[in-house]
């Protein structure tokens, strides 16, 4: 616990190691885990919830869950960062669904021949951040499927919200996203 700098610069594999120690009930590992991952997890919560108080409330809940369920983490099957991030995201979406209907968010432009998908944190940061296979596979989809899938993911938006925001029939939205998902999976699992 004395060398915080080492913890902060930890690579993902060290987060795996910390979480494994947390699973054994190591409180100081839990504190280190919080210090090295809470910023990222709050970022994930805020992406979905926007409201900081709600996001921090969910974050609190997430870490309590992490402590209680760390035993379920299997380092052989997933990275700790993914495991943690997924809990944060799912809790945030559950909270979003439980809140009164959000103020309507920005309309989605899904013109079939649109050149650029709607701006999103990932495309916004693309210059600075390494592109992933996911981005490459997404790019093979037709533009409106790209836009819908990105927006759904980053806003945690339901089919119904996507239909309203894009001005398209619900059935079409479902169809585009479902087909998009299958194409994406085929590409990712090639």
């Amino acid at each position: 616990m004395t060398d915080m700098s080492a913890l902060q610069s930890d690579a993902a594999s060290d987060v795996d190691a910390l979480l494994t120690r947390v699973a054994r009930g190591d409180q100081s590992a839990f504190e280190s885990l919080y210090r090295s991952t809470s910023g990222k997890l709050l970022g994930i919560c805020l992406r979905v919830l926007s409201d900081r108080a709600e996001a921090e409330d969910v974050l609190q809940d997430v870490y309590v869950t992490v402590w209680n369920k760390a035993g379920q983490f299997d380092a052989g099957r997933a990275r700790a960062s993914t495991w943690l991030g997924t809990i944060a995201r799912n809790r945030s979406i559950d909270r979003l669904r439980a809140l009164p209907a959000p103020a309507s968010r920005a309309p989605i432009e899904i013109a079939e021949n649109a050149r650029d998908p709607a701006p999103s944190p990932s495309s916004h940061a693309e210059a600075a951040i390494e592109r992933g296979r996911l981005d490459d596979c997404l790019e093979q989809l037709e533009p409106r499927r790209q836009t819908l899938i990105r927006t759904a993911f980053f806003d945690g938006a339901t089919y119904e919200e996507l239909a309203v925001r894009s001005g398209s029939p619900l059935g079409s939205i479902k169809s585009w996203i479902r087909r998009g998902l299958m194409q994406l999976k085929a590409c990712l699992e090639q």
Binding site: S5, L42, T86, L162
Partner: protein
């Protein structure tokens, strides 16, 4: 396009229930409404095969998840987690802020904050410097900001998680401390922030209440003037409003910083 769509035969029109594969993807993508999510979550718990599909999708989308920008949580989150777990709200062994990289990263943002202070309060820097961008200092990611010339050395009071809580600018001649907070949510218990001056090895001395959202100047009593020196520490605790300045702190330390230069 559809003629080449390998899944054109898969009825994805929304009228028929989708395959488990698609359902799992929808859950992870986040498009299901509350009942749809509960249903999917019940299946994850009950059906290992469905859980495996979800896990696969989680891994596919993990890339985007981890691209999200980090945001340092407020100082109150960690003590609350400890309380929820039935632990004392403040932990035992601490590495101390001086060993903390986030602290030093926060410190690289201090000149920016000092520049902001100059703008907010109207302190004139010796030479005109362009107003710095109004950034939120996020110590988790080292800020790639060109540091403008600071009008006066500042002391960063870092929170427990390494984020900057306040930036203090000490004016020894006027015997004043300008406190510029990085706004954070108020204490839900209604406590206020109290500033303490701590000479090395001595007991904390209260400098009174400090705002958590507005920059303001705090006068240092004549008796403490000599203590306000390099080597001393400024710390902020949460205290009941009644009775400020208190004789001694009772609440948790929310931020602290050592005075390195004046």
């Amino acid at each position: 396009m559809n003629t080449h769509d390998p899944f054109a035969n898969d009825d994805a029109s929304g009228a028929t229930p989708p395959s488990d594969e698609v359902r799992a993807g929808e859950y992870v993508l986040g498009v299901l409404d509350a009942p749809g999510r509960s249903q999917a979550q019940a299946r994850i718990d009950a059906e290992p095969a469905f859980a495996a599909l979800v896990e696969r999708w989680d891994q596919h989308f993990a890339w985007w998840l981890l691209q999200v920008e980090s945001v340092a949580p407020s100082a109150h989150v960690w003590p609350r987690i400890r309380t929820d777990l039935g632990w004392p709200s403040v932990g035992g062994a601490r590495g101390g802020v001086w060993n903390s990289l986030p602290f030093w990263r926060a410190a690289t943002g201090l000149a920016v904050a000092a520049g902001l202070a100059a703008v907010v309060i109207g302190v004139r820097p010796p030479t005109p410097t362009p107003a710095p961008p109004a950034v939120v200092v996020q110590p988790v990611e080292p800020p790639a900001i060109e540091v403008p010339e600071a009008p006066r050395p500042v002391t960063v009071l870092a929170r427990d998680d390494g984020s900057t809580g306040w930036v203090a600018t000490i004016d020894p001649v006027a015997s004043e401390v300008l406190m510029v907070p990085v706004p954070a949510p108020a204490d839900p218990a209604g406590r206020v922030h109290e500033l303490w001056l701590i000479a090395e090895g001595a007991a904390p001395q209260s400098l009174g209440q400090v705002s958590g959202d507005t920059a303001h100047t705090i006068e240092v009593p004549a008796a403490l003037r000599d203590t306000l020196a390099v080597g001393a520490t400024l710390a902020i605790t949460l205290e009941p409003q009644a009775g400020i300045p208190h004789a001694a702190p009772t609440g948790p330390i929310v931020a602290k910083g050592g005075i390195a230069r004046i």
